[in-house]
Symmetry: D2
Subunit: 304 residues, 4 copies
């Protein structure tokens, strides 16, 4: 297929590379230029404006947040203005329910097709084409995008015809992961203060009842107290919990654990942890327990 | 080996059966009699008092809580009184740190050997000899018990020489599982109120990022709102969170998520959910959201 | 002074009446007409549009929320468009920090003067001219408004030159009051389930250590389980906690008790308590304790 | 009346002095000797053992916690052993519901009379005979003790015939006060980070809607960040919240705000704040907000 790709961060660059490798004709755009160099080496073409990637079957967007996605899609000269009728906007960013609904309406008015297709997986999974993709929208459009999904992910889950449903599933999934991080943080603080080896503890749990990447990856980071470099930075985790809570407010669903996570992220950032991996909230329980050497601030000082 | 086995509930009966099948010579005791009948059919012998199972290499205990374990071990005519010097008490129950320490001291004074070896796994895992066993105590004693561990579990993890460390790991593991239940409950309440199919949602998550039994089992129960019959009843979950919090108080580790779980279990029980599976705390978020048909009370009325 | 008054709800009508009684020349405006009738009887004049009350020394606004305040002030033909240069907008509504800042800038650009002056007190205190007024802005303007403050309140507290500071003090005060309601709700649930008389309990506490209106008023409502009619409805309480949390996010201040209150209000509204007094969150603890007859839903059914 | 007084801490010494001044014949006992010297100067007599103060109409106990109260009352040679039949034990300590029940039964078996009569008020209120006294037990016994209550307090509130009811009211009152401290802590962190003067803020609130000693005293301590010397130390506050939660568990009443307070106290103590006033939990919100100079640890270092 002939596709545009907008957003060449760590995730986007890896996904775009897999599209090129799968034989698609890919043109690239990134707001800060020069990010596409290695992809050009693989055969992609780099454009200097949004309109330059809008001439094909579909445009994939993989952007950091609502602001970035709005700026690409909704401003004059953006996606809505530039995409041909019938062409597809495949929005893979983690954005709010509200923005997903605005995009649904704007694309419909412009005679374009819109799918939400956020992903689960960290940059290494993106590089290995092992992402899990959750998608929602018009079934025929989903069908048309299957070659793209196959090139980027290991499995795709359709969740209905309302695109924002896919965004909500994604946000709820990040809430579940952040909950696991908080739980691991408290558990590690507990057994650590009892003198049990933290790393051995995580190995036991993740070799037995929690044998999945989220517990392995974040459990190990918490056990070691190493939150730099950040594969997914604290402000992004904070953003996703805020978006989940915003959706929960709209639907009137009290989520006390999400509120706890909100306060943890806000504290982490207020205390100077903006550059740390989001799993650094898992060190706050140890800090509360007076075990300061395990707290993110130690990591901060080490970095200073 | 020649062993005694005390405590023939759903877990204990399955574990004892696997010991018999592995060729060990097993004598049984249960406070309420008649529970060992099917095991006697397999070749076990049933005793009418604790002393009657204490003549061999080891006695395994698998009891419901601290009270039951104290009653078996510490009263006159109990384990401490009856076990020969050098014989092993293999305590596989989920008990408190404090009781595990008392047993450690009492057995030491009596010249007996004591291992804590609590397990992860529900009754079906016990029946399939697929338990994960966490053990702590004297390394030579652990070595001597390997044939028993192999008969009952799929893998055994030693965590040091202080038996109570194994109990703390077990309690912290149940805390992690209860945390996952709460998180699932909130997430399902959220996506359910948005009109997304609850069961499909759980299938997506557990086929992708949370592909482990805890999320599958409890996610499905929450999605269906079915909390009876209870494989692990709410009061047992409440007990374990209380024991984790008691350990956390002793070690001075604030655990806000554990406090939230404590309040959830207390509410479930206060509202009449004592007979439900502990995953019924995962229905409270939907109740808070005004989606009463998903709340445990509906299950209660249905049962009434 | 010659003043306009916009917003004739229960609070505003009582405040405007006190201005008239103090001898000020008052013209009135309310979006839904007919609210000013009794005030006209006292000597006030009623206008049919915002501009009609903007010809004097000052315009007082007492509106329900940010939306209402924005609609009055910022739309074409609103306050900013209609107020003469040098005239004062005395904004007494409980609005967000963000809106207060926007108004500060808009009035400054238009050469008008702006004071924030939110109040503490329920409608009975407004009627008795016993409000506590917190104000911030230009000191000379505060001085000019003293005759108005004296007519409406028992005491006025200046908190600096940035108007939004007064709004933050007001929001934080409502947070403190909501916190007292939650605490009273939990305490009453506890002693009530122990069989202690709830009303006698509140009388003891408010005759001794908590001898202030907030504890007396809300303690009595909780003890009696009577939350209708609402003097200050749940959605207004929810709004103020959300505004406090929005300010806290902006300033990066985690507030776990405010998060708990947020979830309590959201639950009360999700469960159908929109028409109840905000102190009905104080019945949720009893509901959690299984004492359903004390819960707001009983009041709901009684009302149905 | 002829009375014994046991427990000469800051509270007890002031209360005993008021009994002497009111003309009662007072004999004193304190476990660590020498505490009664100034009272002896007023005319009291000091005994060297519990039995030495048990010969009169009543014995007042004012002890730090359950352990101290048990040691005085329940051990051989203690109060139960020494008090004549018909004599009164007036227990004014803040103790658990469970211990109060044990004492009720033990005194009844011994033919003695028992009243619970815990107090509200800090040492300065005790010295000024301005305590509020909550009492429960046999009405005739309460009547007999009125001269003592009048000598020590400004007002006495009977709450029924079951002594433990008075203890529960006292514990719930301390929970309410700790809740106010937490709320003040979060509010002060919020307005402080916005640049509003903390002391002026507390003056505004306590001159208006929260014009009571608890808000004045603790608000001022939090605004100044001064938590030493402790008039009521953090471990005592922690103890009371734990006793309230223990009662709540027994009655099955989930109290999320009490759980939050529990975690705050545990954190304060874990981080080295054992010697600080209990209102130091009101500095944790500012610490979470990254405003470390306001945190108790700064006070700690200043003291170090």
């Amino acid at each position: 297929m002939k596709i545009g790709f907008i957003g060449l961060g760590r995730m986007g660059a890896a996904m775009a590379a897999n599209l090129v490798k799968a034989g698609h004709e890919v043109s690239l755009f990134n707001r800060s230029p020069g990010k596409g160099r290695s992809l050009v080496g693989l055969g992609a073409r780099e454009a200097t404006e949004v309109a330059g990637v809008c001439g094909g079957d579909a445009v994939v967007t993989m952007l950091a947040d609502d602001d970035a996605a709005s700026a690409i899609a909704l401003i004059p000269g953006g996606l809505i203005d530039s995409l041909p009728k019938g062409s597809i906007h495949l929005s893979m960013s983690t954005i709010s329910i509200a923005l997903s609904r605005r995009l649904t309406q704007a694309h419909a008015r412009a005679g374009q097709r819109y799918l939400a297709a956020p992903v689960f997986g960290r940059p290494d999974a993106a590089a290995a084409a092992k992402l899990f993709i959750v998608t929602a929208g018009d079934p025929a459009t989903i069908e048309d995008c299957q070659p793209l999904f196959r090139a980027m992910g290991q499995r795709t889950f359709p969740v209905g015809t309302d695109p924002s449903a896919a965004n909500l599933v994604k946000l709820s999934g990040n809430f579940l992961t952040a909950s696991a991080i908080e739980a691991l943080g408290e558990a590690v603080a507990l057994i650590g203060k009892a003198g049990i080896d933290r790393r051995a503890y995580i190995e036991i749990l993740t070799a037995s009842i929690f044998n999945v990447p989220a517990y392995k990856t974040y459990g190990a980071l918490i056990a070691r107290g190493e939150f730099e470099p950040a594969a997914f930075a604290a402000p992004l985790g904070y953003k996703d919990i805020r978006l989940a809570l915003a959706a929960a407010e709209g639907l009137r669903v009290p989520m006390p654990l999400a509120s706890l996570l909100h306060d943890r992220f806000l504290r982490l950032i207020a205390q100077g942890g903006e550059h740390l991996d989001w799993s650094a909230i898992g060190a706050l329980a140890a800090e509360d327990a007076g075990a300061r050497q395990q707290a993110p601030t130690s990591s901060l000082s080490a970095a200073g």
